[in-house]
């Protein structure tokens, strides 16, 4: 047996070494992951992390980002003290201040702006992670502002919108029971590695896999059929598949006759998209389109896996996504075992966790009619109707024009201005803001523009509630105390509510007439003397959890999480009892909601296919100067937006900003891996390294986003948006590529 020194060096947990395992979760990425984390703690410091074996989400595994947790938590750039700006905006010149001064400055400014311009003049924004969102939204509305917005202005919601317009509800693929899985579009291998195993296992069991993706991703490589289409042409492909399914009589006649609206119009429109026509548009061979259509339609049951970004981040993305989900209606695979199943939403965008909560009532604490119209309400009425947030892609123009009313304050949790296309235009427009607060873990480019910067704590330093589709739930406990003077985001929100004197028994219990019943406050203190809002937070969570039968007290007994006792049973074909959640009560090929706005560009009630606004077909003159398709934001396994650029363990895996180019294009242009290339659009140019890989789509340049030194979003116009969803067309525009110098 090894000596004690070797055991400690090898980080063996146990009483001998004094290394204790404390449970937490990772929130470095936040689309429904939150892997269970075992933190190896010695002398109050995390010395290693591992995936929690018992956690059904990740079953002991992690991704490259989660495995780099220690570099995330202990990075030298961690903000440790509140600070106020002393130099010009953007200079990053800040001096540390106390929490008391920070909170009172914020409250005084917010109240001043409310008195001068109205509460709607304050924008409340939440990036990652997502757990503060219901609390920040409640804070915003209690303050009187309707303008709560998040990165969901560019991700996920448009996909959900396509489902809601068609069926009234999102419906996820029932992977364990399906016989045919069509992934349109996604690469779980790099975006959610914990899901990759499930797909491989399904494949090994004989489940047919169809993948629609311009790239030869590891997920596409597993597929029986890989439909490698030109970016942004998904609508034409879907309509061609519908064409085959209808022409060959492969659709579910009964479901279509009894439960759908607008089939005849849809049939007539799809008739225009024969497989050869679609081949001309998409580049996918006609025979492959037909084969995929037949397989999906005749394999029972079949499921469609849609995802948050690749299809909907196009200027015609919403309609393209609608066309794809229409195939579920056509084949009757809605709310059936092995098809796409509707499950009630539990908490923070996770559905099917086996319980329901009062999250919506908690967050939507005031009706919209009580407040001014949201940012983006006029430009994106359908998105505004379907989602309980403001569409932040309209922020730039509202700041520039002060129309319909001025915006003068910003309270941001984890904001990255590079998320917006034409980021420098947003920064210029933000000069109109009289007061900016930014909360973050690290000093970022965006926090340099804030007047007050507040230090947040990471997931291992705080408590949060999370739900999982495996019918699992966790209320985490801090594995280590907050670093420096950093505080959990939730604490900051509660402290702000108290400082603002909001009359809200859930966010500001000290003001509550129900105080004796609630018995919580922010007057407890942590060991370092800072106020501790944990009991107020727990009381609010208990309020939210009331319909579930779960309590925080019970959850605290299981810091690594627990399976939901008595999970809500899964019911299928709910539509037979209650219809669909659409205005017509049916699944809609022709959308009732879009009919209301049919005179607006792009708001066709049918899922009309249009080319991306900048494509070789729609803009041939532009394409003559900019012959490549530029696609941005495709996931790399070691990065999630800008979050892990500063971690050397992940950064070393792809050290320089680089764009993926296909070998055929590289050969034609004489470019080798490592060469410096310039990517340009009519808005500007960036210089990056070339990474030659057959994963790239021929004719496409794939550039990862958010590099301050090579910001690809600076090449995209702020108005390059889907007219219905407001989503930027990140995935397809036009660019030129030229070699600058050899590696």
């Amino acid at each position: 047996m090894a000596d004690l020194e070797s055991l400690i060096a090898a980080k063996i947990p146990g009483p001998r070494t004094g290394i204790e395992i404390r449970k937490s979760i990772c929130t470095i990425c936040d689309p429904t992951t939150q892997c269970g984390l075992d933190c190896y703690v010695k002398d109050g410091r995390i010395i290693k992390v591992e995936g929690s074996l018992e956690h059904p989400q990740n079953r002991g595994t992690l991704c490259a980002k989660g495995a780099a947790q220690r570099q995330w938590v202990y990075h030298k750039d961690r903000l440790l003290h509140p600070a106020k700006r002393v130099g010009p905006r953007g200079s990053g010149q800040m001096v540390p201040i106390s929490w008391e001064e920070a909170l009172s400055t914020i409250a005084n400014n917010l109240v001043r702006l409310r008195d001068s311009y109205g509460p709607e003049s304050i924008v409340f924004y939440c990036g990652y992670p997502k757990h503060p969102r219901p609390f920040l939204k409640r804070l915003a509305h209690q303050f009187g502002s309707p303008n709560f917005c998040t990165e969901s202005s560019t991700c996920f919601t448009a996909m959900a919108m396509a489902w809601q317009l068609a069926f009234g509800d999102m419906a996820g693929p029932d992977l364990p029971r399906t016989k045919c899985l069509m992934i349109w579009t996604g690469n779980p291998a790099h975006a959610r590695p914990l899901a990759a195993r499930g797909i491989k296992e399904a494949r090994d069991k004989g489940v047919i896999l169809i993948v629609v993706d311009p790239r030869l991703s590891p997920t596409a490589a597993l597929a029986d059929l890989h439909l490698k289409l030109r970016p942004g042409t998904d609508g034409a492909l879907a309509l061609a598949m519908a064409h085959v399914i209808i022409e060959e009589g492969l659709y579910d006649l009964e479901f279509v006759a009894r439960w759908t609206r607008g089939f005849e119009e849809f049939r007539a429109y799809a008739a225009q998209f024969s497989p050869p026509t679609a081949e001309g548009i998409t580049g996918v061979p006609a025979s492959l389109i037909a084969e995929a259509a037949r397989l999906y339609a005749t394999t029972k049951p079949a499921a469609l896996m849609t995802s948050a970004a690749p299809v909907v981040q196009n200027t015609n993305g919403l309609q393209n996504q609608r066309a794809a989900v229409c195939l579920v209606a056509l084949t009757g695979n809605f709310d059936v075992p092995g098809g796409n199943v509707v499950a009630p939403s539990a908490w923070l965008e996770v559905s099917g966790a086996g319980f329901i909560t009062r999250e919506h009532e908690f967050a939507q604490s005031r009706p919209w009619s009580d407040m001014a119209p949201r940012i983006g309400a006029e430009r994106f009425p359908v998105w505004t109707e379907l989602f309980d947030q403001a569409q932040s892609m309209a922020l730039t123009r509202q700041l520039e024009t002060d129309s319909p009313y001025p915006l003068r304050g910003l309270v941001a949790f984890g904001m990255n201005h590079r998320m917006w296309p034409e980021p420098s235009r947003l920064l210029r427009a933000m000069e109109k803001l009289e007061f900016i607060v930014d909360v973050d873990l690290f000093a970022t480019d965006t926090s340099r523009y804030a007047d007050i910067v507040l230090p947040a704590s990471s997931s291992v330093e705080r408590s949060e509630l999370r739900a999982y589709p495996q019918k699992y739930v966790v209320f985490t406990q801090p594995a280590i105390p907050p670093l420096g003077d950093s505080r959990p985001d939730i604490d900051i929100i509660f402290s702000l509510a108290a400082q603002l004197g909001l009359d809200d028994p859930l966010l500001n219990p000290s003001e509550s007439p129900y105080r004796s019943a609630v018995d919580s406050s922010c007057t407890e203190t942590r060991p370092d003397g800072a106020p501790d809002c944990i009991s107020a937070y727990e009381a609010a969570l208990d309020w939210i959890l009331a319909p579930s039968g779960l309590t925080i007290d019970e959850l605290k007994k299981h810091p690594g999480g627990m399976f939901v006792p008595n999970p809500l049973p899964v019911e299928f074909r709910k539509y037979e009892k209650q219809g669909f959640g659409t205005p017509s009560g049916k699944a809609e090929f022709v959308s009732s909601v879009l009919e209301k706005y049919a005179d607006r560009p792009g708001h066709d009630p049918l899922p009309v296919y249009r080319e991306p606004a900048l494509s070789p077909v729609s803009a041939p003159e532009e394409a003559a100067r900019y012959p490549f398709i530029l696609g941005t934001g495709t996931r790399l396994p070691m990065f999630i937006h800008s979050r892990t650029f500063r971690l050397s363990w992940t950064r070393c895996l792809r050290p320089a900003p680089a764009a993926d180019l296909h070998p055929d294009d590289a050969a034609r242009l004489g470019i080798a891996s490592g060469d410096l290339i310039e990517i340009s659009t009519s808005l500007g140019a960036i210089q990056v390294k070339a990474n030659i890989t057959s994963m790239a789509c021929p004719g496409v340049v794939h550039m990862f986003h958010d590099y301050p030194e090579a910001d690809v979003n600076s090449l995209i116009s702020a108005d390059y948006l889907d007219p219905v969803s407001g989503f930027p067309g990140y995935k397809a525009l036009l660019c030129q590529v030229r070699k600058v110098s050899q590696a």
């Binding site: 980080k11 590891p218 992940t650």
Partner: protein, 186 residues
């Protein structure tokens, strides 16, 4: 697996068919071993991307490689100070950095390019997480792998398990063919 205390050799085996090129193994190793990479990345485990063409069809495969803990390790033979030894309990080839003079003979001898050199110039490399193994735990890379592409154990046992999986795939394929009316054998 063999019992601790006998001369057993363990290996970490990589299945390229299951590997999705996510790099979790690379980072988990860095986390376990506090690998420093600020100046010159000295990754103990590396994932290589291999792209090839089969007719018109491109194929991308990933290979995760660290030390192979050879039964007859060239690095061990090449080392002039005896800094490299084979663990009797796990078969791991382990370097004692306090005996290493940084001559790089091991690096020249290793056919797989495994030895790495950090700030101090002494050799560092994968040690099979042999202390973890002796404590009944898996190597960090194996433990983290989302798809189970990395497996750990006795090479004969791992070989047997691979054969078993392939045998069942072959038989299932034959069963489907026979059900479909074909008279083809395996």
């Amino acid at each position: 697996m063999g019992e601790i205390g006998t001369t057993t050799s363990y290996v970490i085996q990589h299945d390229t068919e299951s590997c999705i090129g996510c790099y979790a193994c690379v980072v988990a190793c860095m986390d376990q071993n506090d690998v420093e990479i600020e100046e010159s990345p000295a990754l103990w485990r590396q994932v290589y991307t291999l792209e090839s063409k089969v007719g018109p069809q491109w194929r991308i495969q990933y290979f995760s490689l660290a030390c192979l803990h050879c039964a007859d390790a060239p690095c061990l033979l090449a080392c002039p100070t005896g800094a490299i030894n084979k663990s009797l309990t796990t078969g791991a080839v382990v370097v004692q950095s306090e005996l290493c003079i940084g001559c790089r003979s091991c690096s020249m001898a290793c056919p797989f390019g495994v030895p790495r050199f950090g700030k101090t110039g002494t050799m560092q490399k994968c040690h099979l997480c042999h202390v973890r193994v002796e404590s009944g735990l898996q190597p960090a890379c194996v433990r983290v792998c989302p798809t189970g592409a990395l497996r750990f154990g006795n090479p004969n046992q791992l070989g047997f398990e691979t054969g078993q999986r392939r045998a069942s795939q072959l038989v299932e394929a034959a069963n489907s063919a026979n059900k479909a009316g074909s008279t083809a054998g395996i």
